[in-house]
């Protein structure tokens, strides 16, 4: 039995770890896992070329309609939770920002670290590409502050980098840089320069962690999804049920994500 699993780069390591453990326990099932971004996985689901699509953002209504027009009804499963960490260079004295400040930084309204209490340096904004669910989630939750009618966009000089590793590498060696990524992707040497975020200027500044995601105090947390074409049956159904079980959720915590409970 061959199951194809494709999509989010945020989830690809997690999906691989799950696939390896599941295949060890069920050798009759063959799982193939690929990345490419949430957009790629969802497009593949719409085109009917994949069994399970991984997505770090929810499917948009246009995408759902396109799928239904193709005869595919997507079914959504929340398989884990994730915190988006905003990280700066280790030399940067800024450690706290409000959501509004981060939104203004990324939309181009704030251009110098002086304006948010740092040194006199230009701000270099790093982002994932547009096919990334992380990018879309960041646009909706941080730039637009959760308001669907807000038309704010990333500033045109935001660097759209092809992977988390490139973002982390640039943040590590460029003192002007600010970047965002899933908490599981922040390496140990940058974990102390993760920004504590507050919903507004009065609120508490919270650093991302399993605890602050589960109690809702960290404002930039999201669900990670898997979509199937229609209600899953047979081997696919068994696999999804296993993912929602305690054994698979332990793997979630090991990789730096937040188990669903």
């Amino acid at each position: 039995m061959y199951i194809q699993n494709k999509g989010s780069d945020t989830m690809v390591n997690l999906a691989l770890a799950w696939a390896e453990r599941y295949q060890a326990e069920h050798p009759e099932v063959s799982l193939s896992v690929t990345g490419g971004g949430s957009g790629t996985g969802i497009a593949a689901l719409i085109n009917g070329t994949v069994d399970i699509a991984n997505a770090s953002r929810a499917m948009k209504s246009e995408e759902t309609q396109q799928a239904i027009a193709n005869g595919i009804t997507p079914v959504e499963f929340t398989v884990a939770r994730d915190a988006i960490a905003v990280v700066v260079n280790s030399e940067n004295p800024v450690h706290e920002l409000t959501l509004q400040q981060i939104s203004d930084i990324y939309s181009g309204k704030i251009n110098n670290w002086l304006q948010v209490g740092g040194d006199d340096r230009p701000i270099v904004r790093l982002s994932r590409e547009t096919n990334s669910g992380t990018h879309v989630y960041f646009l909706e939750t941080v730039l637009r502050l959760g308001d669907k009618t807000n038309p704010t966009l990333f500033s045109t000089d935001t660097l759209l980098l092809p992977s988390s590793e490139v973002i982390i590498n640039e943040v590590r060696q460029n003192p002007n840089a600010i970047g965002y990524d899933g908490l599981g992707y922040i390496p140990p040497d940058l974990i102390d320069s993760v920004i504590a975020i507050a919903r507004d200027a009065s609120g508490p500044f919270v650093t991302p962690s399993i605890a602050s995601v589960n109690d809702g105090s960290y404002p930039v947390a999201r669900d990670l999804y898997m979509y199937t074409a229609g209600e899953p049956t047979g081997a696919i159904k068994d696999y999804i049920n296993w993912i929602l079980s305690a054994e698979a959720q332990a793997i979630v915590a090991d990789l730096g994500f937040v188990p669903i409970k």
Binding site: G39, E129, L159, E170, N174
Partner: protein, 298 residues
């Protein structure tokens, strides 16, 4: 005896002719495929929108101008590096270096051309970009300049290889004649040998430009992929987004037949037409110089 020879001749002529025509046919087929998938973009997106300065396809902003200027600035920058270094190296190898040095250097240059562009891109992120940021005091080293430097480096081996062969093919009598008339070595090279090898050198440059404009992986890794409108001179120091990197990064996520899909194919069509224009321009110069040479000789 005569009949079997004719048989063989006919078959070989037919095979060679088919191969020749098939090259044209394949190019035409690619062109028509690009047209079929790309032209609907013109119907689905207003021309004003397509020529606007904002590229953000997931929210239906399809302005391709930043991508065009991005590709152009990186290509022009790369050629500014590749032309002097490429032709200079070719002239050195062919006219100035002693035989033994040439036997060592030429394979080394061709080895450089065999490096995968991904490896160069990787070196670009890890070594070139940080160096540029510190050395030129830029906000970030991921700029059009980094892309141009890498692409110049990638285009040089192709240019050197073909230009050097072209210079080599110039008959020794040309050089001897010039020297006999009292010209210095440099005057011979600059006024006699290079012009005589003009068609080969132009072909070398044309291939270099073609390689540069179509390069994807290296630019995707070092230019930052920011859709900035690169029209000022200082834009060489800012991040840019090329057409090739856009297609590579976004083609995976488009649903077949969507507007985004058609616009990406239209960008491919634009790339195709630019390459075609460069080729036609270079061919016409080569053709004109050949006609002039024929007139002089007759």
């Amino acid at each position: 005896m005569g009949k079997s020879k004719n048989w063989r001749e006919t078959i070989i002529t037919a095979v060679v002719r088919t191969c020749g025509y098939s090259a044209v046919v394949f190019v035409l087929l690619i062109f028509f495929f690009l047209l079929r998938e790309g032209l609907p973009a013109l119907a689905e997106v207003k021309l004003g929108e397509l020529l606007s300065a904002r590229w953000y396809p997931i929210e239906n902003h399809f302005g391709i101008l930043p991508l065009l200027t991005g590709s152009l600035i990186v290509t022009v920058g790369a050629m500014l590096i590749a032309i002097p270094f490429g032709i200079g190296t070719a002239v050195f190898l062919s006219e100035i270096a002693p035989r033994w040095m040439r036997e060592i250097l030429k394979p080394l240059v061709e080895l450089l051309g065999g490096l995968p562009s991904v490896v160069l891109g990787f070196l670009g992120i890890l070594v070139l970009s940080p160096y540029l940021r510190v050395f030129l005091n830029l906000p970030t080293g991921m700029t059009a300049l980094a892309g141009a430097l890498l692409l110049g480096g990638i285009a040089v081996p192709t240019t050197v290889s073909i230009a050097e062969d072209a210079l080599d093919a110039v008959p020794q009598s040309y050089r001897e004649g010039a020297l006999a008339l009292g010209a210095t070595k440099w005057q011979t090279i600059w006024r006699v040998t290079l012009p005589a090898a003009r068609s080969g050198v132009l072909t070398a440059l044309m291939l270099g430009i073609g390689r540069t404009i179509g390069e994807t992986m290296a630019v995707m890794m070092v230019t930052g992929n920011a859709p900035v409108l690169a029209i000022k001179l200082t834009s060489i120091f800012s991040p840019v987004r090329t057409m090739t990197a856009t297609i590579a990064a976004e083609m995976g996520e488009v649903a077949n037949g969507s507007t985004h899909y058609h616009v990406l194919f239209m960008i491919g069509l634009v790339l195709f037409l630019i390459s075609l224009a460069v080729n036609i321009a270079a061919s016409s110069v080569v053709f004109k110089s050949r006609k002039r040479a024929e007139r002089v000789l007759s």
